[in-house]
């Protein structure tokens, strides 16, 4: 069955505050269902530039209800931000309905579970993300440090997300 339109359904609520609350709640859920990865991108370290990952497989997703595609070998956008020595952080890659890929850094933590994932932009699919954890006394500088730098040793790990998730939907 086709999902009902949120605005139409919410119109039956005469209390404006309730209506707005319901719309906001359902917007968040609907957006994740219609904006997500459908296949694994197979992220790996780039070849032209080792400062960014590239897709290792053809990728298909849906962004704001539109099918989007990235060919295998597509370089991800430049990373922006630094990760201090011994800290953990993530760089996430999003794809909008025009197929444009953007990246965003999370908020660092002393351990992986303390990392705060960057907000998932409305209408964008999360293609995947990398984790960076410089294990030497060096800072990882996004866009400058190679993902396999032997001095900084960022301990980069590549993750391919498939399906709907939103780490901000905590209860």
């Amino acid at each position: 069955m086709a999902a009902p339109t949120i605005a139409t359904s919410a119109a039956s609520f005469h209390d404006t505050a309730q209506k707005v609350a319901l719309i906001n709640l359902f917007n968040a859920l609907y957006d994740r269902m219609s904006s997500q990865s459908l296949t694994s991108a197979g992220l790996v370290i780039g070849t032209v530039s080792k400062k960014v990952p590239k897709t290792g497989a053809n990728w298909v997703g849906v962004a704001n209800g539109v099918l989007v595609y990235k060919a295998s070998g597509t370089a991800m956008p430049a990373l922006s931000g630094t990760v201090a020595a011994t800290q953990f952080n993530v760089f996430a890659f999003f794809v909008d309905s025009a197929g444009t890929v953007t990246s965003a850094m999370g908020t660092a933590g002393a351990t992986l579970d303390l990392v705060v994932f960057p907000p998932l932009p409305a209408g964008k699919a999360l293609l995947g993300f990398i984790t960076v954890n410089p294990t030497t006394a060096q800072t990882f500088t996004g866009g400058s440090t190679d993902l396999d730098d032997v001095t900084v040793i960022p301990a980069t790990k590549y993750y391919n997300v498939v399906g709907a998730f939103d780490p901000t939907m905590t209860i």
């Binding site: 707005v20 319901l22 992986l112 579970d113 997300v161 780490p167 905590t170 209860i171």
Partner: protein, 172 residues
């Protein structure tokens, strides 16, 4: 965008019954979106054979209660607890909480796979995967004792790695 806070949104409902109902519905949905596997753990029998224990093959990452959690490759999963009678089907599920602690839980057995009742997913925990057991040999499968590839009891262990949000209890 960050998802709205359920309690704040539900507070707009002045009817307490409506507020409670709405909160419960949303908590179930939200929890699955923020507690799930993000990668395939590649669960297999520990060491490749002759063990009652399941283990990860791949490094696994998931989200539990909104926090990133990881389990190393080749990590032993908790001991299976419970018995599956000869010919019955059941599942042993593995959950990871937001501290990275892995637990296991057995479902309720059924005469066929579709009659198995999956164990309840703990709030704020990700389902890493599960093992299906259906002993067709001689005798019952005893979790933690019977090897997952025992040739006498023939548990027919099938290892399933879940990725993404799912909840078998969310049926229409």
């Amino acid at each position: 965008m960050s998802a709205p806070v359920i309690i704040t949104s539900a507070a707009t409902f002045h009817d307490n019954a409506q507020k409670v109902a709405l909160t419960a519905l949303y908590k179930a949905l939200y929890d699955r979106f923020s507690s799930q596997s993000l990668t395939d753990a590649g669960i297999a029998i520990k060491g490749g054979s002759a063990s009652p224990t399941a283990a990860t093959v791949n490094e696994w990452i998931g989200v539990a209660g909104g926090k990133l959690v990881a389990v190393a490759a080749a990590a032993d999963l908790p001991a299976l607890v419970g018995t599956v009678a000869h010919a019955a089907f059941n599942v042993f599920a593995f959950f990871v909480d937001n501290a990275g602690t892995v637990t296991s839980a057995m479902g309720t057995a059924g005469a066929s796979l579709d009659l198995v009742i999956f164990p309840a997913t703990p709030v704020g925990s990700a389902l890493l995967g599960f093992v299906v057991i259906n002993p067709t040999g001689t005798g019952d499968f005893v979790g933690g004792t019977t090897n997952l590839d025992d040739v006498t009891k023939a548990p027919n262990a099938v290892f399933v790695n879940t990725v993404g949000a799912f909840d078998l209890t969310m049926k229409l």
